[in-house]
Symmetry: C2
Subunit: 237 residues, 2 copies
């Protein structure tokens, strides 16, 4: 079943307005979810929307909270997300980073007290659309075992690099695990095995079974020890 | 056979002075080669020194060329390496990036017309020793096939991330191939197979044989398509 873009957008917009979002913020939020679905990233588009709604209903996400500038120095800014919607906080901060880069050559914004930004690539596209190189990443829960460990201690922190080009931007958006949990869920829902080993099962054997990896929470990092190291560094920086 | 640090340093220093290096530059260059060997990165330490000497003797590297500032804007600077020694050019540019970061929050220096910087991690340690986070990478020859391709079109561009800490810095220094060519050479010289598949042989099969991968020039990127994407982005940025 295929749903026209506008139909999905309108449906999500209606829900967001009912939840108390101000009109402009509801439109941006609906667009970010709809764009992710349009681009095939269902795991951070429509499929995630019900959870987003629940987090608003349970008060984890503050619908009308706007991020605030905490400190600023040269190319750097620190912002407090005030537990507002992660998508809107991230969008606002990328906007600030873009503005700052025009004055300083580089703009770098750190954002705290926020929640899931859904598809990180959205903010890479945002930068590229503005004609600048965009690099961003986020930490996440400890859901990836460091190389050689059996329990999750680092996050599979996604990193995004976007380079603007006249004939179509080049945007990389990837998690530090060989398969993100969103990708594992997609394979599970399609009933397909992974194309290559993607993690360990409960007994510690490498497996292509997405269900076994979701259960063990032991996905493989990209490049074995290398992705594990990169994940650690993204946590540290 | 183990060689004391000072003995190696003195030996390299003597050769560099004979080649026409000015005293201070010779000392820094000898130190960078010696440190890499001390830390076990022989492929970019002593093992590479004869090739470095040949490049000076054939005029590829200009012993006394100093890098020059080309343009500057906010956090950014562009430098021309003037074909001087890659190690000294890189060290100078990281020094500039550190200085600029103290004024601007971030310092970013791009360096052209240079040659091999040997161990990239050296400049990460340099940043961390100065108390700042260091991120650097370089492009290289096309020695890595993009995902799905059989001929090398992107470089296995190494990336370095260094985070300073009182009790020992954390420094990541890795190539975009699962095994760098330096690492392949180390396994070959020890007569050992790789611990995991590291690339394709001439017939297109995955192999742990370092010799077969050096011959095919088809190393695996880290994380299959993910490392391939990251390598591309490092080329583009």
């Amino acid at each position: 079943m295929r749903i026209p873009y506008d139909e999905l957008f309108d449906g999500l917009l209606r829900v967001l307005l009912k939840l108390g979002f101000e009109q402009q913020r509801a439109r941006l939020c609906a667009r970010l979810f709809t764009d992710a679905s349009r681009d095939g990233v269902y795991s951070h588009g429509l499929n995630r929307f019900p959870q987003f709604v629940r987090m608003i209903q349970t008060g984890v996400i503050a619908v009308d909270a706007e991020p605030e500038l905490v400190t600023s120095f040269g190319s750097l800014e620190r912002w407090d997300g005030k537990s507002g919607p992660g998508t809107l906080n991230a969008y606002r901060c990328m906007d600030r980073a873009i503005a700052r880069s025009r004055q300083q050559g580089i703009g770098c914004v750190a954002l705290a007290n926020t929640n899931h930004w859904m598809r990180g690539g959205s903010y890479g596209w945002q930068a590229a659309d503005a004609g600048v190189i965009g690099i961003c990443w986020t930490n996440t829960m400890a859901n990836l075992p460091p190389w050689g460990a059996s329990d999750p201690r680092v996050g599979n922190n996604p990193v995004i690099i976007a380079v603007p080009r006249g004939k179509g931007h080049v945007v990389l958006d990837m998690a530090m695990s060989q398969f993100s949990y969103g990708a594992l869920a997609s394979y599970r829902m399609r009933g397909e095995p992974l194309p290559v080993e993607g993690g360990f099962d409960a007994a510690g054997w490498l497996t292509r079974d997405p269900v076994a990896i979701e259960a063990s929470r032991r996905p493989l990092p990209i490049g074995y020890w290398k992705g594990s190291g990169l994940a650690l560094m993204l946590d540290l920086v």
